[in-house]
């Protein structure tokens, strides 16, 4: 508008225009508030139907929506004993450790054990495996499948031969955060809703969040991390599915009196991603690679240790384990170490 035009435009029209603009802005914010109030009211009405469940009913096996008490077996009775049955269904479990510790091995084993029926510790369904850094180790998965009867001696061989393991493991490769969010918001819920899968594995969480953000983007990184974890929780609760997140390790900083994380049982490495992520995790497990080796027949394996760092229902304890051709197996008693 040229100056001459603005002079002939009456001032009171300008004022009216400004007032109308402000009024509309206020109206929009008011509508937003109303929307929030309405959504709260809707939820109030919904919550009238939400059950205040008596814990005794849970104990008796009713009200399964709240806490089913189901556990996903790892496939080895020694490790299941450490976990009091296995991974809890309906929460996020984190498995962290150094490279070569055996985290991916355990995750692959879980992808197979979820396919067994519930009386053998599975969930009668498949698994989604999201790889964020390395290519999926499909040859190792085939090796594990062919040796399942050796690992799971408690299951009748006819049942094992009837299960088509590789048909029920869905593999996704996501290289960055955006594609991970797309995968988690579109493809994974479809599979979960159809009942095709009942285990979600993310390998690994740290890879995406460490390299994409610089140290100064700490706030942005926390926001993305929280929104990612809230998606995981939402999927886990809505579909009653265990979620396993694999995390990398970070060398522990020199002891800082301000740092307050649950100290690992006996090592100087701690999981990556810090406190913001640790607050979102329900069960934290750590896998360590020790210096000794164990032998069994003509196979040798480095000795591992699976430890519970924290969990609401588990004691801080650990079990020795080894990685054989058929999978990860816990060791009991004194094994021939050398």
């Amino acid at each position: 508008m040229s100056i001459s035009a603005s002079c002939i435009w009456p001032r009171r029209w300008l004022l009216l225009y400004l007032l109308a603009h402000l009024f509309i802005k206020e109206l929009y914010s008011l509508m937003e508030e109303c929307h929030k109030i309405i959504s709260v009211c809707v939820c109030v009405c919904v919550c009238v139907c939400v059950c205040v469940c008596v814990a005794l009913l849970l104990h008796r096996g009713e009200c399964r929506r709240l806490e089913s008490g189901l556990r996903l077996s790892v496939g080895c009775p020694v490790l299941d004993e450490l976990l009091r049955g296995g991974l809890p269904v309906g929460g996020v479990t984190e498995l962290s450790g150094e490279s070569g510790a055996g985290k991916t091995q355990l995750a692959l084993q879980l992808c197979l054990s979820v396919q067994y029926p519930t009386q053998h510790g599975g969930l009668n369904s498949g698994a989604v495996y999201i790889c964020t850094e390395d290519v999926f180790p499909s040859s190792r998965l085939q090796q594990l499948i062919s040796d399942q009867s050796c690992l799971r001696s408690d299951v009748p061989p006819t049942l094992i031969s009837r299960l088509q393991f590789s048909d029920h493991v869905y593999i996704e490769h996501t290289a960055d955060l955006e594609s991970l969010q797309v995968c988690l918001s579109r493809r994974v819920p479809l599979l979960l809703a159809r009942g095709a899968v009942r285990l979600l594995v993310v390998d690994s969480v740290a890879a995406l969040f460490r390299c994409e953000f610089q140290a100064s983007d700490w706030l942005e990184r926390t926001k993305q991390l929280l929104s990612f974890s809230s998606t995981l929780h939402h999927l886990s609760q809505e579909f009653n599915t265990p979620v396993l997140c694999i995390n990398q390790r970070r060398h522990r900083d020199p002891p800082n009196p301000g740092r307050q994380e649950a100290p690992p049982l006996s090592s100087n490495v701690s999981p990556a991603l810090g406190l913001a992520w640790a607050n979102q995790v329900m069960v934290r497990l750590m896998m360590r690679r020790l210096q000794e080796t164990v032998a069994r027949g003509n196979q040798r394996s480095a000795l591992r240790r699976l430890e519970v760092v924290f969990a609401p229902h588990l004691a801080r304890d650990g079990r020795d384990a080894a990685v054989w051709r058929e999978g990860v197996r816990g060791l009991t008693g004194i094994v021939g170490v050398f």
Binding site: V40, V52, H59, Q237, A278, N279, E292, D317
Partner: protein
């Protein structure tokens, strides 16, 4: 100035009052229930009722004259000691630091890093609130609002079993033995009401509906919200809205705690705050939230030892105690009632012995 015979009291009481010489309401002014019951040979509740009727009548007639309905601090103390008993935990050091146990009628916040034992303490309190009164407990029910999904029944059953075993070992006289018959794992579970909230809207809606539930269940003495931080920390977009919602929440919880005479326990997470290049661990949800709870407990690690520090309390001194989480629940650190079944394992690549988990 009304005659006593015109008051709405039972005839026998009126006869006794008149025969003792109290013929008008002005004669009863300024009397304490104890004095009245002695002079007119009435029982204490009857004397109290007489004085209340007089107060009501006189107040209505003279428009505010007569005794007001305020309480003195001494009466409040007596009322607290009778009605509001503390929730005794199985950790004597924590009870001592809190002056007898977790006080009922107040809001208590428990903050700490993940894995330090906040949920364990909440589950322990859920069992402790149900300990019968002949053992020194409160004998009430509880409501557990779970937002993280960490209420796992396996653990609750462990803690309940240990609590029942502990009390049955302590049972000495007949009254306690009779009480033990109703203090079993099944009854403990039947007195726990569990609610699952997935986000802040559900949590606020549930708290909105809670007063109705509490009126229907007057025996509830404990409300646990585990945890508030989990649902509110996802609200990043509008921090002022978050502060407003948290303030509302705090006011609601304080009102519920006093009106329904129950303890409200809230769990909070820790966050790092950068201040001048140095990072510090502080409780989450901001400084204004810090004013909401009456008592704040900080659980933290000092090396391998867990410590609980009371760092805000109007009635107790700031102190720090040691504790441990055993298979039985939240206990004192030096307590070794039963030998632990786990021996410390030996590992060759373990650093110096200071890192080894000690057990007795």
């Amino acid at each position: 100035m009304r005659p006593v015979s015109s008051l709405s009291l039972s005839p026998s009481v009126k006869v006794r009052l008149v025969s003792a010489g109290f013929r008008f309401t002005s004669d009863l002014r300024g009397l304490k229930p104890l004095q009245l019951s002695k002079e007119a040979s009435l029982s204490q509740p009857e004397a109290l009722e007489v004085l209340q009727t007089v107060r009501r009548v006189v107040g209505g007639d003279e428009g505010g004259g007569g005794a007001s309905a305020s309480l003195t601090a001494l009466e409040l103390l007596q009322k607290e000691e009778e009605e509001l008993r503390s929730i005794v935990t199985f950790s004597s050091q924590l009870d001592a630091a809190l002056g007898g146990g977790l006080p009922v009628g107040k809001t208590i916040e428990i903050c700490g890093a993940p894995g330090v034992g906040k949920t364990q303490l909440c589950l322990q309190l859920a069992v402790d609130v149900q300990v019968p009164s002949c053992f020194g407990g409160v004998g009430g029910q509880m409501v557990y609002i779970d937002t993280e999904g960490s209420f796992l029944l396996q653990r609750v059953v462990d803690i309940a079993t240990a609590g029942v075993r502990h009390c049955s070992l302590l049972a000495e006289d007949d009254e306690q033995r009779v009480a033990m018959e109703t203090f079993t794992v099944e009854t403990i579970l039947s007195n726990m009401f569990l609610v699952r909230c997935h986000d802040y809207v559900e949590l606020l809606a549930e708290l909105h509906l809670l007063p109705g539930f509490l009126s229907a269940h007057p025996r509830v003495r404990l409300l646990v919200i585990d945890s508030v931080a989990f649902v509110f920390r996802r609200l990043f977009d509008d921090l002022s809205q978050r502060t407003r919602l948290l303030n509302d929440l705090a006011q609601q919880l304080i009102a519920m705690a006093t009106r329904h005479k129950m303890a409200v326990v809230i769990t909070n997470q820790m966050t790092t705050r950068l201040r001048g290049g140095q990072s510090q661990l502080v409780p989450a949800l901001g400084e204004s939230w810090g004013h909401a709870p009456a008592i704040r407990l900080l659980l933290h690690w000092v090396g391998p030892q867990r410590m609980a520090a009371i760092f805000k309390s109007p009635a107790h001194m700031d102190s720090t105690i040691q504790y441990q989480i055993t298979s039985e629940g939240f206990r004192d650190a030096n307590q070794c009632e039963q030998p632990q079944s786990k021996r410390p394992r030996r590992h060759t690549n373990q650093p110096a012995a200071s890192q080894r988990v000690t057990s007795c």
